[in-house]
Symmetry: C2
Subunit: 124 residues, 2 copies
Amino acid sequence: MAVKTELDPAVAARLKRTPDGLVAAIVQEHGTRDVLMLAWMDDEALHRTLTTGRATYWSRSRQEYWVKGATSGHHQHVRGVALDCDGDALLITVDQTGAACHTGEHTCFFDDLPLASNGEGEQS
Amino acid sequence: MAVKTELDPAVAARLKRTPDGLVAAIVQEHGTRDVLMLAWMDDEALHRTLTTGRATYWSRSRQEYWVKGATSGHHQHVRGVALDCDGDALLITVDQTGAACHTGEHTCFFDDLPLASNGEGEQS
């Protein structure tokens, strides 16, 4: 994350980063509106995403930039990027080629957790 | 986050938490499939969400649990909770009452960032 970035300073000024300089990036598929994955971006990853149209993340485990699809072929072509109200999360809308998840599933969120019957939640 | 939790140990074992014990929670509206917000959960917030059917988060700024809608009336009734492939993010599907965002907007992601023309991204 020592990379010097050309991210628009007006955008950079609105980001509220984690202590390691990142904002969360939620990835949603344009056509299906499925939420595909959660990744992380630093300023330079956001700059590359906005300017190349290819979703580019910061890998916390590998400590390097990661163009989605560069090895898998499962590219994400960026349709839109929105910043949330407090500047610490991005919503990336993409056209996804192939599976978004490294497991081969369409989305990373394929593991449903058991909900208790939520009668209490219906009262108001 | 010193609260003792009754979260199912089988679920707890699958969570990969930040150093402060949290997982990211992406909130999506059931009907519209709009992505509404990003919040954070510790084990107890997830336990409460799964068992009460009311979306409950951990506020990093206030350092307390936060039942969405408790003060605003803008409740989130939980339809489903899915864990992602690497255990560090949750997708919470909700029926949203009123606005999800504290600004009064339906979703927190109302601020579109400018995309460069992405001809480069169309090549493969």
